[in-house]
Amino acid sequence: MNLLRGISFRTFNIATLQLAALLVPRRQRGEWLKEWQSELWHVRQACAAEDRISRQDEQKVAAFCLGAFQDALCLRRHLREGTASGQYLAAASHCIVFLAGLATVTYCLAMLLPGTRTAAQPSPYRDARNLMLLTRAGFAGTSAPTIRAEQFREWSTRKQHLFSPSLFTCPPSKL
């Protein structure tokens, strides 16, 4: 009975250390666990007299093992603090790469939308902002010219008539 109790208690102690080890970063875990297991062996040796361990000593050993959690958390925090500055630099460069990637994807998607490509291209006209599109009456909403070139030239030579009030008067039939 005592042997069974001893084995189960020992298994519990080792399991406690293994569980605490999960908190330690993987790179340091092996050495950390080795140190704690070695210390546990010595703690048990100091507590157990003639292969028997009292209930009070069991509590001492259990308390020792529970301290491993504090140590694991402490080590984890130290390592995190140590690498924090490097991580910030890496985070900044990752952020820039991510934003550049996002901008590229957004640009490609925008180019797939109808009309975006022509809108994004520079205008072939010299003073595009001040250009007017002259169309025949009834052709509203079109982007293509609807008067012939000679008609435009004729209008150009008759500037004085272009801005006369009659131009803006709609024919009665259109009203």
Binding site: E35, E39, G67, D71, G82
Partner: protein, 105 residues
């Protein structure tokens, strides 16, 4: 260097214990009466601050004595200087942790 770091009483006691010859975790626990959850994290901090350094015992020595190898701690030069400053700050430190006779490791 601007001066030795100011240690807490617990850290100073652990440093004193290492200097006194209690060179592994469990012996420091026994000597100081501090729990494992205090001693081991404090030793990690002391090692991080380069006041102590650790090394593993040779496997052959441990095998001879049929036990797992231990991790031993030793004061660095900065650790000694810090301990001297701590002794001035905590005059009872040496009395709390008397020297320990140990075989050389």
């Amino acid at each position: 260097m601007t001066g030795e770091p100011r240690l807490s009483h617990t850290a100073a006691m652990i440093l004193q214990a290492v200097d006194a010859g209690y060179i592994y975790g469990f012996s420091i626990m026994e000597m100081t009466g501090l729990p494992s959850g205090t001693v081991y994290p404090a030793m990690r901090r002391l090692e991080r601050d380069e006041l102590i350094h650790s090394r593993w015992e040779q496997q052959s020595i441990a095998d001879e004595e049929q036990r797992p190898p231990r991790k031993y701690y030793k004061l660095t030069r900065a650790g000694k200087a810090t301990l001297d400053a701590s002794r001035k700050r905590y005059p009872l430190l040496a009395k709390l942790v008397p020297p320990h006779e140990v075989k050389s490791v």
